[in-house]
């Protein structure tokens, strides 16, 4: 019974680790990951990888005689170069991946900036309006000499 419960505890700990790992993976920000993927070193490594695959395949398979034999190589090269493709068009179907992503990021940044500016504008307008309203009230409000009115705040 005790062994069983310690086994369950071990399983729970493993499950907890798996959940934590999965959550960490989920936390990877899509934009940060895209930036890392598109940064110069990774892009260069992908190009080198594609070139290396072609040269290696050529060395192993020799001069291509059959497209079928080279199909896996083409797929690998395509996969390596796909992240840099700005768009794919085939038989009337167009996929504007990079452009769409860039536009979405720009739109998101622009919306955030506009919202922030609007919030500041409304807040400043409200504060200025309150000061103006209080100043208008001050015309009719009772007033005392500063020394007398403020004595309590300086003690």
């Amino acid at each position: 019974m005790a062994a069983n419960s310690s086994g369950n505890a071990g399983n729970d700990a493993d499950a907890g680790k798996l959940v934590t790992t999965w959550r960490t993976v989920q936390k990877l920000d899509a934009d940060a990951w895209r930036k890392l993927r598109d940064d110069a070193p990774f892009r260069f490594i992908r190009y080198l990888g594609a070139l290396g695959v072609v040269i290696g395949a050529w060395a192993v398979l020799g001069t291509p005689h059959s497209a079928t034999a080279w199909l896996p190589i083409l797929v690998i090269v395509l996969l390596l170069l796909l992240p840099d493709a700005s768009s794919i068009a085939f038989a009337g179907f167009a996929w504007q991946a990079r452009q769409a992503a860039d536009e979405a990021i720009k739109a998101s940044e622009s919306a955030r900036e506009t919202a922030s500016k609007l919030e500041l504008t409304v807040n400043v307008g409200t504060q200025a309006g309150e000061a103006a309203g209080e100043s208008a009230q001050a015309r009719s409000a009772p007033a005392r000499p500063a020394g007398e009115a403020l004595r309590g705040f300086l003690e």
């Binding site: 504008t121 307008g125 409200t126 000061a131 103006a132 209080e134 500063a146 705040f153």
Partner: protein
């Protein structure tokens, strides 16, 4: 004698500076440090000259100029004041307090923004109407 002590010393000028009760009420809501900083700033008027602030106050005679004096203490609001109107006692009247962050943004160019002016006009009208409504009901302001 320190500068601060000199600034807070009560002089004849104090009677020339009148503080509206609404300002004193607002100071009571501040934390003691900020309220003391505001009090010291008010007591520096008129020897310490503030910056002119373009405040559109409904019902003011044309050409009324408002001044802003920043206590420079974290959390302490900016003091808004003006010269006394011909019908008022004293020479200067402290009329309002303003959030320091909003004051800086306002005086750094947002004062000319039509949206800011529109919001300010609506809020000012609302503040005055609310006060008149409260007065009409006979409740303390």
């Amino acid at each position: 004698m320190s500068t601060e002590a000199a600034d807070t010393t009560s002089t004849d000028e104090d009677s020339d500076v009148l503080v509206a009760q609404t300002v004193v009420d607002k100071m009571r809501e501040l934390d003691p440090g900020a309220a003391a900083a505001v009090a010291r700033t008010i007591l520096r008027i008129p020897s310490a000259r503030g910056e002119p602030i373009p405040l559109h106050v409904p019902g003011d005679p044309p050409g009324t100029v408002y001044w802003a004096l920043d206590p420079g203490t974290s959390g302490a609001p900016v003091v808004i004041y003006r010269e006394a109107l011909p019908s008022e006692e004293g020479k200067w009247r402290v009329t309002a307090l303003m959030d320091p962050g909003a004051y800086r943004a306002y005086s750094n160019g947002l004062a000319d923004d039509p949206v800011v002016q529109g919001v300010a006009a609506i809020v000012a009208a609302g503040t005055i109407s609310a006060n008149e409504y409260t007065s009409a009901k006979g409740e303390p302001v």
